[in-house]
Point group: D2
Chain length 446, copies 4
């Protein structure tokens, strides 16, 4: 784990699940569950299982030695089992014979990964819930906060800030549902032995596996999945989507923080967002971290998809490629969500600046209103062309569109001054912002 | 559409949904639904809507001109609306004013995409169903066909071919469920106008949109999703998973087709898999196509994830990047599933060769059986070490392991000749193959 | 080829090299060169070679049939050779025996690709040269055009627009050099026969290959490279870098076109950048196309890198994955460069707005100047902290920093009014802009 | 840094360059060079520079604190400078004012990265040299070792093992040249200050930068490259190509190690490649690690390409995304090369098995020889068809092709028994293996 960036790109709590020690603990939980289940099925004496279970503690493992020995077998389970067996042997030579009985390295590593992922996804899910609550609060607060809507980064027509946030929330609600579905469906035990047939479990493989699943509170799969990795790919892709949705928020906020726009700001904190050289700057530090993670995760997801091509009963390379890749996906996603929680908690909004910016184009943004109103009378195309011409005039002459329109004879033929006034009202130009907010909130669970 | 490779990488039926003409037809369906819905809501005279609807036919569109004009606006909708408006104007100048009323280019393009994707996913889903049926038949047929299980491409312990296919099926069943979930949840209307507020629909935007959704048989979203692209990303990722699962099948079959292994073959057809220079070859032509697609799709999915970062109310670039990318993902996935259907229909299995290969290691593959049987007596580690030594001896002396074991005094102390004989039986070494097959079939719907 | 987007994402000239017909012509050039070379080496009667060469024309090929037949062998060369042989046979049955003599499908397909890539890269290189010339002109024109430099999208300190463009140019110059290096080194003949040994060329394989290389003006490789794809990967990556560099330009311009910033605009053209609904908009159409391509190419490059893992003497899948991927990379890069040429030719700059924006922060951007000047007297950290405080005051009180500084006793102790005035001068704050411009231009070849 | 996998996927020596401490040391080297250069240019008193330089040691830095503080500014340089300044202040309050004078965080971080990358690339280059020497030795040793060439993983025609390795070597030689070119051209100083103009260096920015470049033995760029990242992208892509080339070797070896093929083996070592459950196995442990890395690096390269889109004078996110991504690319590439050195040193070859496998198809692999020989008499197409028929017969009747051919009247009409015998000779079927080996070795520098 690269510590240097722990507070920039990551979520400490989630990172802690991915330390060397943590992963080994998850592996030891598999071994403990295995022996307990085998004892329950009469394959192992209860006292032996007890001894093994008691030895499944991190203190029995010398990690440095394990790292050194991993080179030979190409995975970390082989030296782990050696050390665990040694520890058991010290207590009871007889019991040592039952360690890791009938299981294969991939059973341990996959199940440990699943347990680790589940804990991580629960934390991410909790943070998503925080994020969602904060977005809901922001929406309510800014339900009527007027601002310009922007397409291709150009002024289009007005919206409310609440409406913009409702869009963010909408995507996040779906992502939360996806995570919750994963938590129910994708966390399954891996226990198959060498080629997935549990052939060395004396015919008791199935009840042993079912008992293990119960102990570890995992689903029991129909069949071992040593080389069927779609569940992991789905987890990876779902996290990729979560990160993408946070990236959208960060992109919007960072654009709104631009000096000339200055409508929204990350919450300030002493020293936060400062530059080493420019004392006046207030950098979008949180957004930058999210955007960085969002730039990295998609490619990592593609690795999880391309490594699904796993040969025969255990893959030569594509399985190994998953290990750090999946951990990185989870850690970066957790970091993105963590930062999204931080920046939406105390987000600063400058309503005056929003109103100020709405006037920037001297009425150009209401041109569509006029165009549509005119279309009824002179047809869409002619209306569009006429307004395009008036808008150009307004820009060239640096005049307000309303002033030009008020003096245009064609327009005056069809629209009254009151109508024109109304068409230039921001409040009257936000369409269904409110209705759409209500629709989103109604499925938000708040 | 690159025609040259249509019969190699693609599914003709699905490709046809993605021609220029086809996409434009979907776009015209949006325009027709829009005007009909607006008439129903009293925004447009019924006769006008009828005229517009009648004009929404491909014959009114000059595609070459449209392609030429697309450069100016940077999308294909602007020139489409121009041509459509021209066509309507010819019939009824008055009606022309109502074309594309209150909608924006992205409404049209996104909804057309959604309709196109839905049709494509239905075809893929049907083909997945074919594939699944064929796999079920193969499983039943080869439930007891013995073969070696391979880990890291090396002989491990025996399985049945039915068990191997059950693994393929298991993943495919989940993928089918995922596709079906998408078909229910992800296909939503896009109708928001310029910034998603339907501000120019005279307050009738919501009922108009709801009517359109009904006409097009799409779900109504909570809020327009111009820059919330998680649904599309999820579709892309799900297709990526489908392709990955077909790739796993193709990888296994292509490995089993290797000259020295020769256990399984793609169905033969006159001229199929021939080489231009080597008359004797029988190339894994279908597998190669699937593997090629599986090498391409993951990266395309990463594009769909990374382009989720869409600024404000319409993205400057990341939206456009989706167009061809998503089409390629769908087309390549459809092609992979299509080829998987072809190669699993009439797959040739050489049972004798499978049995022959099981003997290749002169009993080494049963070493684990012995090791486990011995473990009860002398402990796992010692048993493992002893068997490792015996295996090396057998290899060096090119002897059968059984012969060495029968003469080993330590082993004879614990295992009888009958027990040894049994431990070297392939049938007795396949563990839970049958049970796992049953478990998979029980959720297959067959 | 997807025609619909030809004028948005692509360069027509380059696209034409990638039509079905064009690719087949390149393949026929290989066959013609092969027979001519074999005749020169005495392997084939001159008259036979003449007949074959004359038949190597596109009119002899029925593409639709070829597409249909490609399914059987999984590549387009097998049916091509069949059709070519038929054509030759009609003229001279004897000559038909010599068609494609000793070559393999991959020889033809790879060499055709190389020829196609070379032509495409030459066109891209020419367009890069146009782009470079235009950038040089822009730099000279805006050598002293003052604007704000922005870090993290926030105002930092002043630069000149010429300096910003010099950065763009600097990257582009390196990319042009990379392309030129590829044109010299990476375009090599592929001619190896079935497994790369030219074993069926009667011992004359080497002179035949050397003659072919001469005819096609390709480099002769040390050894056939059927499964050594680093040269193609390098071409792909280099194009990825070119696209990335154009993307940087497009990102900057599109940000500068934002309504609130409004400093730089794509050249206007009638109807260009218009919106279907908002008559006043001027969308960054060219930038959007470049950014879309830049979002797609990196993932495609990753496919070219991951498919380098090509098994044995011809790869089962990873070779096939290259075909459309590499074509897409080239076409999208060509399109990005093409659009970059368009938008930099006639780029509109609003100098007044640049000056106006420089004043936006009421002097905050000069804070670093003061900070540095103070640092000499009170230390960097204290200076930084003092200025940070003053900047916050200025922001809170909506005052100009200069006004606050002029009244600050600590600062007055160390800096005279003249010095202060100077520190707030934009011209005096652009540092080495001019020197760096000179350095870049001096290596530009202009 | 994930320690657990240090001995599986990584090269310890290179990993050590990428520890937290190591990176900080590189950053301190920048600060030391900066102050020394400024002293040489008269900007800083010599004694002050000496004090600062002396303080630029890792002992002055509390990494944990630095990690904690990094959150505020979003990079590790800001807290580093704070700690360094504190350390200097303790020695000399006056000197503290000159720390990091005129530089910006990105100057430090980029230059540190460049220094780190250079050291890493030198180590990789050395290991590539080891690999190349070993490949040269293997080629000489197996120049005449006969084996089957395989296309689409099927037997094609014979080659020598030396020829196969010559293909590996050929790619590796080009990669080495690419690395060497990078080492000469791409390692440039970053020193630009806030926006790249060195505006706060009192007009002495250029000589200071040139002096720094000299001290650090880096090239001086034409212009700062804060948002021009093509050089880094090129480094990333080049490493991606190196990894791909090692992956090709690993893929071939792992396929050749398959139980049924058994022609080539990774060098054995006590306990190496053992399975936790199957005592007889000899897993391709080194190949698996290389293949895992080769599955990961391409996607990481795509991140480096897509993050080239860096806005204005410092990017909001895309710069940050590079940090860990580039480090991972370097570390994984180093690991792949390291493992390639290990597995090619002591690679075990089973020549007898190679000869045995050559006979596997009962002469089918010589069918092309016959086909070509016949083509001269009856035309390529007829010859191909005839041989295709004979090959099918041979397969169906499980006979040797030679036996069928000897009895075929058409063939006997054109080919003598001696000719036939010769056409079935492996030695006479390896074509230009020897010549191509010579050509590759001649450019290998050995």
């Amino acid at each position: 784990m690269q510590n240097l960036y722990e507070n920039i790109f990551y979520d400490k709590q989630v990172n802690e699940l991915f330390t060397d020690e943590s992963l080994i603990k998850y592996m030891l939980r598999f071994e403990a569950a295995l022996t307990v289940a085998q004892a329950q099925q009469g394959m192992t004496p209860a006292s032996v299982a007890k001894t093994i279970e008691e030895c499944c503690i991190i203190d029995n493992i010398k990690i440095e030695q394990l790292v050194e020995d991993a080179a030979l077998g190409g995975n970390i389970n082989i030296p782990l089992i050696q050390q665990l067996t040694e520890a058991v042997k010290k207590k009871n030579a007889e019991a040592a014979k039952y360690v890791h009985y009938g299981a294969t390295s991939q059973d341990v590593i996959d199940t440990a990964l699943i347990l680790q992922l589940r804990d991580a996804l629960k934390l991410i899910d909790e943070n998503l819930q925080h994020l969602i609550s904060q977005l809901v609060i922001l929406i309510e607060k800014h339900r009527y906060t007027l601002m310009i809507g922007r397409t291709f980064m150009q002024h289009a027509t007005p919206i409310t800030f609440g409406f913009k946030i409702a869009g963010w929330l909408d995507g996040m609600l779906r992502s939360k549902k996806r995570i919750e579905k994963l938590l129910v469906e994708n966390f399954v035990l891996q226990a198959g032995g060498a080629v997935g047939t549990l052939s060395t479990m004396q015919g008791k493989g199935l009840p042993v596996a079912e008992t293990m699943a119960e102990i570890l509170q995992l689903k029991m799969p129909s069949i071992p999945w040593h080389t069927q990795r779609d569940r992991l790919a789905e987890i990876a892709a779902t996290l990729g989507i979560v990160t993408g949705s946070t990236g959208k928020i960060a992109k919007d906020i960072s654009l709104l923080m631009q000096t000339e726009i200055a409508e929204v700001f990350e919450p300030s904190a002493k020293g936060k967002g400062g530059s080493s050289t420019m004392p006046h700057k207030r950098n979008p530090v949180g957004c930058v971290a999210i955007l960085a993670n969002a730039a990295r995760v998609p490619a990592l997801v593609s690795v999880m998809l391309s490594t699904m091509i796993q040969d025969h009963e255990r893959a030569a390379g594509n399985w190994h490629a998953e290990w750090e890749t999946l951990a990185d996906i989870v850690r970066l996603t957790a970091g993105a969500v963590h930062q999204a929680v931080i920046i939406t908690n105390g987000l600063e909004i400058n309503k005056e600046q929003m109103l100020h910016n709405l006037e920037q184009t001297k009425g150009l943004i209401y041109a569509e209103n006029i165009s549509i109103a005119l279309a009824k009378h002179i047809g869409k195309a002619d209306a569009h062309n006429l307004m395009e011409q008036i808008c150009k005039d307004a820009q060239n002459r640096k005049m307000h569109v309303k002033d030009l329109i008020s003096g245009n004879t064609i327009i005056n033929r069809y629209l009254s001054q009151d109508e024109i006034e109304n068409l230039f009202s921001t409040q009257h130009s936000t369409g269904l912002c409110d209705e759409f907010i209500n629709r989103v909130l109604s499925v938000s669970g708040f």
